[in-house]
């Protein structure tokens, strides 16, 4: 009964695929004409076949490598670069969303000049550059250092270009500004080791981990890399004979996503972490749990931490004494421990580093690298100096690129005022932001993906960013603008004409290091690899144990304080113009398209406010208004507000969404004492989430590591059916039977998979109202459940797991479809034929997992966002149902490749978008007919942890989950 099928199935798929291309092409025609003149066919561009370019991600300082997927000249997806040692092939949600920055419809299309009336006037590039040249010339004539460059660090080469540019105009006022700059850590490093660069961490080498407020799975330093390490750290393994997982503790005011993946969350007031850290050190010193050759003078150490006797600390911070001593014990006794800090005071960082040092973990779980240090951002003092100079009227012309200081700088810095003092402000960038609004000349700059650039995230790693496509708009690389401007000047010209030339020159200079290969081979090679990744060597540390400033205990905590943290997706605010990120629910709060003031029910009661009440939060620096989110995910007495929202410009998707928490912070601070009052207004916080209580259903399951060690499978007390119960004779899947294994323990909830799915499968966003109306379209979502109150003692802090179509063998959605739009392929896929769907929506009614999505309206991608659409995937119209397809287009691609190359399909050859993106490799896709496949082996290796969602319904899902692991409380 199989003969007929393959043909029919294939024709179905083809139908879908071709229709997909057809639907996508009209959208991209104008661009296509511009990008690829098919009149003269380009032999490098084979229609229908993607090409891949290695490049680097520039969405945050972590500097992961990326690979751009190009179709017909358009980059349609960003993925991690496997060759890159940092990301190792994974890319976070923010990185992937860079595409929406590239294709953002609100990007500046032409140079514009602001008239005296403040209105912008479009001008040609020539006019603009002439104007720029003239004003700069004038400025430089006026004297030395009258020209300033103020921008984000955009790589070593760019740095040189910027400096050269300034040089030409007789200035040295270059400021490389990052809003989130890890300054406290650098200060700590400086104090202890006399160096300002950041250490490298190896969580996977540790047995115990304490994070003093460092959200290392979200935004802290290098999330993708650290998440990968953390998942290894949490993988059950034999340690000293016992099966166990790394013990992690989070000390901080909010149960962040990172905290939720730890064993314990010690809720302290913001700023109290240092106190606890020192106290832990105190315990270590007292107990002599310190390595003999740590190089520390015990006496000095113990009197330094004298004020931090656990009892005292406990009194100050409210953290129980035994908690602190236990922390000390686990940390001291651990074979490999790591303490990290993410607070805004260097004290905690210092304490953490000493903790690592005294336990002899330097070189093991934490290390400094030899060789050229990472490029540095300007120190806060340098930044202040620059701003003061502007305010002081010492600057005639300021060139701002890549940074949005007006938005991210605290009110106290008075940046806006400073810019007003500058007669001529040039802004170059993509989507005009708050800073651009203050500039008199704004220039459309290339998106990083359109320009040549390089990165140096750490010693031994140079990322090479090559343009992956033709410019979408009439823009230029910032570097080129600077060089052109420099070129106009009469005085000494910079050595390169363009950024491209500069980058190539710089890199060929590196070639000498690269043994053997000649320069051109080297050039080809680094472009293919996406950079130069050399062996990383530890640098010898000269520990400065000279009695350091004995820390003073933090003042008694304030009545009410506000804690502002970088939003996992919006970061410092640069993500806010990307609908994908706006519509991605923050993993813990599950809110979209808004900011919120998260507070404990107790706090809410004290303040007399309820969910969705808009409150005004006032600090000494400023005041903001935000709706209340009542949740026990923050410490009582603390209001947590995410950064990144509240733009007053920056395009249609960012403008007037939420509130800007930077406004209530001091420079470099993340918290402040605050007062809050109800404003009487209310604003619905919008979330796609219904109930947060799993009601004991087997959706996201967890078991304790102790149970795993004992080999006990958690039993659900439902009555068992005895005797045969199978109604139908099972179907046969002669060829492949696709399946998936998802390790819930490895899943951090970072939602990279969700964004990957949006990008791969042309999933439209629906906006705040849409989400509120229950029309969110995500095919894969992160389920968030709170443990039931009674079970909380013996459960993970939070249940987080991806939920997507389970591709059921007995899919309830299939037989109810009247027109076979939903049916089962003979490769075990739960097929959904959009063209055939009439929209009865019965399938979704009958889907126990509720993973199907209906197109309530005609989806829209404002040009040029439509250029990002994946031609391999149908764009669905109004009135049809859609859902996860296991990336059937990728499966087809893989199978066709294998066929054309006349070979068997290799395991792991087909990688779904979600799997590809996952930093912790929680998702494995493969053939369940092949017991040797990685996917099946993973199930076998963790047999005790296998479970299927809602298994009692006999839907026979193709997805097997591996239970989350937690550590039973009250166990050492």
């Amino acid at each position: 009964m199989r003969e007929g099928l393959p043909i029919s199935r294939r024709s179905f798929i083809k139908l879908a695929a071709t229709a997909g291309a057809a639907a996508a092409l009209p959208g991209c025609e104008p661009a296509a004409r511009k990008l690829i003149p098919y009149v003269v066919p380009d032999e490098n561009v084979v229609p229908g076949v993607p090409s891949f370019f290695a490049t680097t991600c520039s969405e945050c300082p972590a500097g992961c490598g990326a690979v751009a997927r190009i179709r017909e000249g358009r980059v349609i997806k960003l993925e991690g670069n496997p060759a890159d040692p940092i990301g190792q092939g994974a890319l976070c949600a923010r990185g992937q969303a860079a595409l929406q920055g590239l294709y953002n419809p609100d990007r500046l299309a032409h140079p514009q000049v602001r008239g005296d009336d403040g209105a912008l006037r479009t001008v040609s590039w020539d006019e603009a550059e002439k104007m720029l040249g003239d004003r700069l010339a004038a400025a430089s004539k006026a004297g030395k250092d009258r020209v300033a460059f103020f921008g984000s660090p955009q790589g070593p080469t760019f740095r040189k270009i910027a400096l050269a540019f300034l040089g030409v105009y007789g200035s040295s006022r270059a400021t490389f500004y990052e809003a989130i700059n890890q300054e406290p850590a650098r200060v700590a490093a400086k104090t202890l080791f006399g160096r300002r660069d950041l250490p490298i961490y190896r969580i996977d080498q540790a047995e115990a981990l304490i994070s003093f407020g460092a959200d290392f799975l979200e935004t802290w330093q290098s999330p993708v890399e650290l998440a990968r390490q953390y998942s290894l750290f949490r993988t059950p393994q034999k340690r000293r004979g016992a099966l166990t997982i790394g013990r992690s503790t989070y000390v901080g005011p909010r149960l962040s996503m990172t905290a939720s993946k730890c064993d314990d969350w010690i809720a302290t007031a913001p700023g109290a972490q240092a106190d606890v850290a020192w106290s832990v050190l105190n315990v270590l010193v007292k107990q002599r749990w310190i390595s003999p050759n740590s190089g520390f003078d015990l006496a000095a150490l113990s009197n330094a931490v004298a004020n931090f006797d656990p009892a005292a600390t406990s009194a100050r911070t409210g953290v129980p004494v035994e908690t602190i001593t236990r922390l000390g014990e686990t940390f001291g006794k651990a074979d490999g421990a790591l303490a990290i800090a993410g607070t805004d005071d260097s004290s905690a960082h210092l304490a953490a580093m000493i903790l690592n040092a005294v336990t002899g973990n330097f070189g093991k779980t934490i290390m400094f690298l030899a060789g050229s240090p990472a490029e540095e951002t300007s120190t806060p003092d340098e930044v202040d100096a620059a701003v003061d100079a502007m305010r002081g009227g010492e600057i005639d012309a300021a060139f701002i690129a890549g940074a949005n200081p007006v938005f991210t700088m605290p009110v106290s810095a008075r940046m806006a005022e400073a810019l007003q003092k500058v007669p001529f402000v040039v802004w170059a960038g993509g989507v005009p932001d708050e800073t651009a609004a203050m500039a008199s000349l704004i220039l459309p700059a290339h998106h990083p993906l359109e320009a040549w650039r390089d990165t140096a995230p750490r010693a031994g790693i140079r990322g090479l960013g090559q343009p992956v496509m033709q410019p979408v708009f009439d823009s230029k690389p910032v570097g080129d603008i600077l060089l052109a401007a420099a070129g106009r000047s009469s005085s000494a010209k910079p050595p390169w004409a363009t950024t491209a030339a500069a980058v190539k020159a710089e890199w060929l200079a590196l070639a000498s290091k690269a043994d053997g290969a000649g320069p051109e081979d080297f050039w080809v090679n680094v472009r293919r690899e996406g950079g130069l990744f050399e062996e990383q060597h530890l640098s010898a540390l000269k520990l400065d144990t000279s009695p350091f400033k004995a820390p003073v205990p933090a003042a008694a905590q304030m009545e009410l304080s506000v804690y502002a943290y970088p939003h996992i997706f919006l970061y410092d605010g640069r993500g806010a113009d990307k609908p994908w990120l706006q519509e991605l629910p923050e993993p813990v709060a599950q809110i979209v398209w808004d900011s919120w003031a998260e507070m404990h029910p107790e706090t809410a009661r004290k303040l007399g406010v309820a969910q969705d009440d808009v409150i005004e939060i006032k600090t000494e620096h400023g005041a903001i208004e935000a709706p209340v989110l009542v949740a026990s995910t923050v410490r009582p007495g603390v209001i947590a507000v995410p950064l990144g929202q509240g733009h007053r410009a920056y395009g249609r998707y960012a403008k007037d969404v939420g509130t800007n928490a930077w406004l209530i912070l001091a420079a470099g601070a993340t918290c402040a004492g605050a007062t809050a009052r109800a404003t009487g207004k209310t604003r619905r916080l919008v979330s796609p989430l219904g109930k947060s209580d799993m009601m004991g259903r087997s959706i996201v399951e967890a078991m304790s590591i102790e149970q795993l060690a004992r080999g006990v499978i958690p039993k659900n007390e439902a009555e068992e059916v005895t005797g045969p119960f199978e109604m139908y004779t099972p179907w046969k899947y002669p060829g492949h039977k696709w399946g998936m294994t998802i390790d819930v323990n490895a899943c951090t909830g970072c939602s990279a998979c969700v964004t990957a799915c949006y990008a791969e499968n042309n999933i439209p966003w629906v906006g705040k109202e849409g989400v509120d109306n229950g029309r969110i379209m995500s095919w894969i979502r992160i389920e968030r459940y709170f443990p039931e109150a009674k079970a909380a003692a013996q459960a993970p802090l939070l249940y987080l797991a991806p939920m997507l179509c389970q591709q059921c063998g007995h899919a309830p959605c299939e037989p109810v479809c009247p027109v076979f739009a939903s049916y089962h392929t003979d490769e075990g896929l739960n097929g959904q034929i959009y063209n055939r769907c009439v929209g009865t929506r019965y399938c979704e009614n009958n889907c126990p997992y509720k993973v199907r999505r209906f197109n309530w309206f005609v989806p829209e991608w404002p040009a040029p966002l439509n250029l990002q659409l994946n031609p391999d995937v149908t764009v669905r119209g109004a009135g049809v149902m859609e859902k996860c397809t296991f990336c059937v287009q990728r499966i087809q691609f893989g199978e066709l490749n294998a066929k054309t190359e006349d070979r068997e399909l290799r395991d792991g050859e087909i990688v779904t978008a979600c799997q590809q993106a996952c930093p912790t490799r929680a998702i494995t896709f493969g053939d369940s007919n092949d017991p040797a496949s990685a996917m099946m082996r993973r199930r076998e290796d963790h047999e005790l942890r296998n479970y299927r969602a809602l298994e009692e319904l006999n839907t026979q899902p193709a997805i097997t989950y591996l239970r989350n692991l937690y550590r039973e409380k009250g166990k050492a």
Binding site: E719, E720, V721, T722, G723, P724, F725, E726, M727, Y728, H810, P812, P815, E952, L953, N954
Partner: protein
């Protein structure tokens, strides 16, 4: 109802029936008695000889079946009043009430189950935490005992007025649209409602609870619809038998009553299969193990599948195909045979409902179970005898009956 009318009816109703000798000869009585003895001894032997489980299964199956027949027939009589049926004068009513005495017999036999409870109800030996509140011995016997008791009492209260002169007068006033006497108007609906409630309870407690994991909301309804049909079928069969025994001139020969019974056997057999299908398709489609196993084990799984098929044939296929034609309905032999087979089928159906829950892989049907069934049949016949005489009387009293336009 105007008084003079009533008087007229009473006179007509009071017509002396032609004296007939009791329809059940002494021989029949003897045989029936012997059957009881046989059954009882077989049961006792089984209990003493370690065949207890098998004996109790047979006990339960027969109890359910015969109780169902007796009660179903009585409810048929009540529902004739509710639909103001006058196609057979008072005879169909007497026929329906004929088996009533077994209601009390069954009521007492029910408590016999108490001694076999551990062999019948799995939850007695392995209590189920969540269901303990409902599935526990005292409560079950209390509620079902009371239910059956009330049911029997109500039935008798109904019979008393139904046999009264007023009711009879009404049944034979064929050209009138007046409602039945008030006493009937109160009791007939009561009996019908009680039937639905009590027999749902019986279905859940004495059949469903044998497979405690399983549930089906329609099951109660399905069960008592089966009882009702078996009651009608038994009435039809009796009518056919009496027809031949009552000599030349009786209601069954010179009216269309048999035809009407034929129609009802046909119609309610279709209704029964409808209720069966309504459950099957939902469970088949839903594919939830907690529901499917019960069906799979009986319908898709040897040794039970052929028996289930047999039920289908006997209860639905044969009546449906055969009784479709008017001639068949009117031919006593055919109607009788179909009805007889139908009753066998309904017995088998009860057997298939009950036993697989207790012995999944074997059909424990042997002489013991056969003899016990015989015993029950005997008891049933004995308790039906007085009623049958009344039927004979009514059938031979030459009442006027409504005409039957096809």
């Amino acid at each position: 109802m105007s008084t003079h009318l009533q008087k007229a009816h009473r006179e007509r109703g009071a017509m002396k029936p032609r004296a007939v000798e009791s329809v059940v000869g002494t021989s029949t009585r003897a045989v029936a008695g012997a059957m009881i003895v046989l059954g009882a001894t077989a049961f006792m032997l089984a209990l003493s000889r370690g065949g207890a489980a098998i004996a109790w299964q047979a006990y339960l199956v027969n109890l359910l079946f015969f109780l169902g027949v007796a009660q179903g027939a009585l409810v048929a009589s009540a529902s004739f009043y509710l639909t103001q049926a006058k196609w057979g004068g008072s005879t169909p009513y007497r026929l329906g009430e004929a088996f009533a005495p077994f209601l009390w017999v069954g009521f007492f036999l029910f408590f016999g189950l108490y001694f076999g409870r551990s062999l019948i109800f799995p939850w007695v030996t392995h209590p189920i935490a969540q269901k303990a509140a409902w599935l526990n011995t005292p409560f079950l016997f209390a509620r079902d005992g009371i239910g059956l008791g009330v049911m029997a009492a109500a039935s008798y209260a109904f019979i008393r007025v139904s046999r009264g002169a007023d009711a009879r007068a009404w049944t034979i006033a064929t050209d009138d649209i007046q409602l039945p006497p008030h006493s009937i108007r109160v009791r007939a609906p009561l009996v019908a409602v009680l039937f639905a409630v009590v027999y749902t309870l019986i279905a859940f407690d004495l059949v469903m609870s044998l497979a405690p994991v399983w549930r089906s909301t329609l099951f109660g309804w399905y069960f008592f619809a089966g009882c009702f049909w078996s009651g009608l079928t038994a009435m039809a069969l009796t009518a056919v038998v009496l027809r031949s025994r009552l000599g030349e001139n009786n209601l069954f020969t010179n009216s269309t009553v048999l035809h009407d019974f034929g129609k009802m056997v046909f119609a309610f057999s279709v209704f029964w299969i409808y209720l069966l299908f309504a459950q099957y398709i939902v469970i088949w489609y839903g594919d939830l193990p907690v529901e499917t196993f019960f069906v799979v084990q009986r319908v898709h799984h040897l040794p039970w599948s052929p028996l289930s098929a047999a039920c289908l044939v006997l209860i639905w296929l044969i009546p449906f195909t055969v009784l479709m034609s008017v001639r068949a309905k009117k031919t006593p032999v055919i109607l009788g045979t179909v009805a007889g087979l139908g009753l066998v089928g309904m017995w088998l159906e009860r057997y298939v409902l009950v036993v697989p829950s207790l012995s999944l892989d074997a059909v424990p049907f042997g002489p013991t179970q056969f003899l016990i069934s015989i015993g029950f049949l005997g008891a049933f016949l004995v308790s039906a005898m007085p009623g049958l005489n009344r039927v004979a009387q009514a059938a031979t009293s030459g009442e006027p009956v409504g005409d039957d336009p096809e």
